[in-house]
Subunit: 460 residues, 4 copies
């Protein structure tokens, strides 16, 4: 056994200085993502490996590992597979489609692959004949383009009607690439399939540009997305810096989770403030966002704000702002968000003008320009391997399950789990701490005096 | 407890078809990286979390988690820190330097940070006064450039002389950013520090563009590097495709490990053959590389080969090729490699010419153009957080340890472990399987008849 | 003399077929930018070279060539120069600043260079002490960032107050990098300087991201800008193609001139319709934009529209849309434009919904993300040479003049000329013809029957 | 008439200071590209426009303007066109092919378009049946890839055999996209066509990544190429700067002309020395390259050298270095060049080692990675318009002519002229002066004392 434990050359008792971060840490002691002195990270990540270290055969929460099996459920050469992409665009959709076709054809010699068009709409009776034949030649270069060659759409459809379509088109396995809505629909289809006693495998490939699906290290396309997002932070930073009292605001995706905003802000390192759904904030007051903006503009000449679209929704209720078109949810069943950007722009303009710093606002919402790009090199590899895992899962008879990556291993996750909760930034975790350290924004928009010290250190 | 186990809707006994991959899988049954039916991936990754699930308090191999501690060893405001970068360039060096300075200054208010120049040479008596003062303003934008503002060099130095320098310059903590050689030197320095009973922390930040250091999910700069490498695969693919009997060869970094070659080949998906150190190959014979190249050029008109620099070194002994300048090791003590690219170009030219397919060789070695780029968005975030972890470790009195990322957690790894073995591509693992599936090259350059089937499937 | 004229091997009389473009050409016969059979392009471009070909010494319209003179007006080592950047951002501003400093310091050894901050505001009495000292070290790497290190602003200032500042700060030569407003201000300053009999040279470096200044081959930053713009056309194209009845709209800069929209549309080749200020269009009617959008969405599934911000302003009067804040001009004196994008989105949504094709609108306004990028390689070279020419001009005693590029030669243009008219796309010229050929949109939104033919040809 | 002449506000006699550039200018007084006080650049560029200014109808050297004619020679719907790409790769080849097909099909409704494969080899009897049918759908997206979908090759073929192929395949118009060799072949084909009295139009689209063809503002692909080249200059600069006594050398294309080297050096602004074929240099001696390299490494720590492949060929004769394989010319008839890079690396290593500055050489030859990229936005537009012009020319019965861009107008140039001389950097022109100013290298590697002053100014 490797000696991994003899790290410390000094007794912990010798650590007699209070960390300047101690106060911040005190708050965080309950966080499972935060380090306690006794925390240890396992070397091995699989149950069978633990057994090699004479661990008793206890039951620990774990996932089935993904990958090819020696015995499979379907006769591969007789398989007709279906593919559908649902919901908003995300880098890597075409890579996943291509990876599915590659694995199905090159290794399993599947008989036929049909692509349903424009999301679940393509599984309705009206559109069930509008499928695209997916061939190796047809998908060879599609990964160099963003978007999805199958088209997409929001909106659920009747599960039984969709199963009718699967039967009508002779589908043996259906791959649903989608987000919340897509995973819920895949679950419903799978339930209906089971109710009818059909042998149709339903495999989900979770897609979320926001990285808000659980049980996934990082969702495909996320790295491409936040990399692209950094360009827009840099853009508004350049604009803001060049303008008298410049206020740059970039609104990024993130309905419930601020991952894109946080990662992009760290990568671009031009952001002075990051506002995300997980961390509430006040606009008004000595400790509020507006006071901090004012101080920053006064000191540094400008400020750059990264705003996740779902941030500060509680501020809109009070302000009485209605959702954009009166409907409370969109076609996918997602709660519609209020326009926090309008509220913020207005509040900043009013406040800065009132203190004699009439601002130049530089606002951009680059969402479409981010969602639509092709996957970067990392996501290209990731999507390919994820698609391979999805095919292996279906061939081996798994169904009602999603393929995901957990602790860098590809695993099978029950579909129902994928929508059971959200992946979010832990306000007490190290990721958000890094954001605070990099932007120098206060953890809770606290007393100005502290902030001034941070600003005066120069990085902020 | 989450129900993670109710995945399969069918009995495994129903899996009655042999997988077309079964033969390949048979070989792989001993691989820990390959999936067995009983494999399960743990949900939790820390020992304390396992305990929450009523696991008995057994000793499992694990690492100390990295991160800030409430009590620290040094009085932070009295700290003088030293930073040095060693060995070959790698994307992210400046990001790490910047992250160290940021954390030391903004949060710990360290007194002073000195950068030693041109690697360990900067710690010798001759150069100990040539340090650069590292300030927040000085490092603000350095992450937008590749390379290292401190310079680098290969070559070990006398440990005692280096410790003399640390004492002479009043260094309390030394951050060594380096590879194999750097980690060995850091260990030697740490040993000498301990022998003298000094309170100087030595923290390693492992750097390897080849991704060949162990106990690290993926080394910093690796993603930037392989992403850039894909451009050169695409370039020689374009050149080869446009030439009669075109043979495109791109030589990529990878002295002992074919990670860059493999990942880049997957991401670019233009590679027809990947040759890496971990997988031996024959040139001659019906099953050899040359026969496959011939078949490919004949069928498809051209071929694209990705060659890791350390691949096929065994082929050079027989051919009697001496190392480039007669010395067996370089200044860092690394074994010098023979010119596999010359051997390969010559052999292919001779072979193809002899069969009437006189080739157009398009060869490129883009190493300097890869090593020297700035970190991409992902690596920027990674380097920043890694640097923060390194500072936390030193402040908390850890020494002789490296900061690394394991299963997506930042951890402390004893320095001695970092050089105890290499991280390599598992020829029986799923990564290499994906490469084989994507390139369609034979697992072992086996019988041509099989290969022809693969090629005829169209992807290959 | 070169024989340039013996091109045609056949008598023109042999050209007996009507061109399918003849009808289009008939309209264009009056255009100076369009080719007539007798048109010939001069080999030489300078008057002195014409003379070598025995041309009589006639007076033809021509510009003074830019470049260094042997005898100069100022004692270069005594010169204090001032630099100011005005108006909206444009790629290359920092390159020009850097080029000015480089030439002034390295070759002319000028004594001092002052940068005035935030545009002409920096020349007011209130801000005249807020200058930045421009040194070689300070500007070394500024060209790698977009924006302007000097800041910018809109708005004219009192000429006499600005001349007071020049005198107060001892400025011998002022370089004004700016657009319409900047050139007008430079003219006013120059007039005031002349009125006082001062020896202060005022040199304009024309800046217009829209490429709408006259007497300039192409304004600096323009190529960087339209290259970046293509990415957003591709983005909305990906979005539109993936949506049922997708309508992608990208709004690009171009208040009076559609150069960015036209060049970007040609380069991206994903645009189905380009709307620019120079070419009026109707929304309604059988030949209108809406009917064409409907036909396109019906046939192809989606449409991609590139919209210059100044297009279709006449449509807003009728609709009674007021300018955004009730003021008719902005701080630079530019006429404020109405929101053509809102009008267009609304009209398309209403129309398509009414014909049962309820659209998914994907709209983006990427202006800030375009203006703020760093100059590309071409513009980097261009800006550097333009700045060199500006310094040569000032040193040689030129004033009230701009440096520009005409027929690929750097020239001096009287400042007053730069604002005398606009550069615009000639609706009868070959550039717009290429746009029509590439998008397949009708020249005048004419009869649908013709359009259907074009669409059926496949490119459109 | 515009008043373009009232620029100067002072009498030239007031220019009483000698320019610090005077000595340099004295040398240059004979250069037609350098400015004399009397030089004037024409406003208008066409003969007919001169006439509008009452110029007498004299004969001046001029080109026929390109563009669509009202009457054309061929019945467009009966036309079969051929396309061939010759010689080395260059960004934009696919754009030109695509533009030809677009114009031929969409507007002229040509009957058929055949692509000959792998250059002129495709026109031989052996390969005349291997053509590719070029359709609108087939070429729709080819411009997003570098290279040429038709393949290419070097080497001339028998003109009569090629004309036989044209007759055999029923070609009415042949478009030859190629360089020196391609233009010569096109001329030979055209002569043979004329000798047989055939009505086959032969139109050249000049291609030269080196920008060395005459009568062309800038050849297509050149801007893409030098933009890409800048990345490699930056790469070796990063490498050199990080190494003790680092010497970065990037070898760029440019057999006879240093355009890529010069433009890339200006754009990257990291180059300390540019060596091009047009400007001879000595290695040895107080004024030689080696002494300058030594001084630079001693002062600045490293040096970055941009080397055009054809530079310093005279130095190889003396050194007795033979061409690489004993043959004096390549398959295209180009003179084979010696390995200046080996000579330079060896000489620098020897020299620096001898003076105690043993260097770290960082050398890269990125040619294939430059030639193979897709055209950038500018070149995409340029290629499209050039291709349109080529089709218009052929349809109008022009033959034995190339389409080119002259003073920003598309023109017809007799094929014979395209190979009559080379386009080269004028060592006395403003472009090279800008290179000297930016690199601070001596104009002729003159006295070290001067250079030191330049270096001390800081930019150098």
């Amino acid at each position: 056994m490797l000696h991994l434990n003899d790290l410390r050359v000094r007794d912990l008792g010798e650590c007699r200085h209070d960390s300047p971060l101690a106060e911040m840490l005190a708050v965080k002691q309950t966080s499972p993502h935060y380090v306690a002195e006794g925390d240890r990270v396992l070397l091995e990540d699989t149950v069978s490996m633990l057994a090699e270290h004479d661990l008793p055969p206890v039951e620990v929460p774990s996932f089935e590992a993904a990958g090819p099996r020696r015995k499979i459920f379907f006769d591969p050469t007789e398989v007709t597979a279906g593919v559908v992409t649902c919901g908003g665009l995300c880098p890597g959709l075409n890579n996943v489609i291509r990876g599915l076709v590659q694995e199905l054809v090159v290794h399993y010699r599947a008989k036929r692959i049909l692509g349903f068009q424009h999301g679940l709409r393509g599984l309705t009776a009206d559109h069930r004949d509008d499928t695209v034949e997916l061939t190796v030649n047809g998908v060879r270069d599609i990964h160099t383009s963003g978007g999805t060659i199958l088209g997409s759409s929001r909106g659920g459809q009747d599960a039984d009607e969709m199963v009718d379509t699967l039967v009508y088109r002779g589908i043996d396995m259906l791959f649903v690439i989608g987000g919340d809505g897509g995973m819920r629909a895949a679950t419903a289809i799978s339930d209906a399939v089971r109710a009818r006693g059909l042998d149709i495998a339903v495999i989900g490939v979770p897609k979320t540009i926001d990285n808000d699906l659980p049980f996934t290290d990082q969702s495909f396309g996320f790295q491409s997305a936040f990399a692209r997002a950094t360009e827009f932070i840099s853009a508004v930073a350049v604009e803001a810096a060049a303008s008298p009292n410049g206020v740059g605001i970039v609104k990024l995706m993130g309905r419930h989770s601020g991952f894109i905003a946080s990662y992009a802000a760290l990568a671009a390192s031009a952001a002075d403030m990051v506002l995300i759904p997980e961390v509430p904030f006040a606009l008004e007051g000595d400790d509020g966002v507006l006071a901090y903006v004012e101080q920053h503009v006064r000191t540094k000449g400008y400020i750059v704000i990264v705003l996740a679209e779902g941030a500060g929704q509680d501020l809109l209720d009070g302000a009485g702002l209605p959702p954009r078109d009166g409907r409370a949810t969109d076609a996918s069943g997602n709660v519609r968000l209020g326009n926090i950007e309008e509220r913020l722009k207005e509040a900043i303009t009013d406040h800065l003008t009132s203190v004699g710093l009439a601002p130049t606002i530089r606002y951009i919402d680059p969402s479409y320009a981010i969602r639509s790009i092709a996957a970067n090199a990392y996501d290209s590899v990731y999507c390919l391997r994820l698609a391979h895992a999805a095919v292996h899962a279906a061939m081996a008879g798994r169904t009602a399950s999603a393929v995901a990556r957990w602790r860098r291993r590809f695993v099978h996750v029950p579909l129902s789990l994928m929508t059971s909760r959200r992946n979010q930034i832990d306000p007490n975790g190290d990721m958000w701490l890094s954001v605070l350290e990099t932007t120098c924004q206060p953890a809770d928009f606290g007393p100005v005096s502290d902030r001034e010290k941070a600003v005066s250190a120069g990085f902020c």
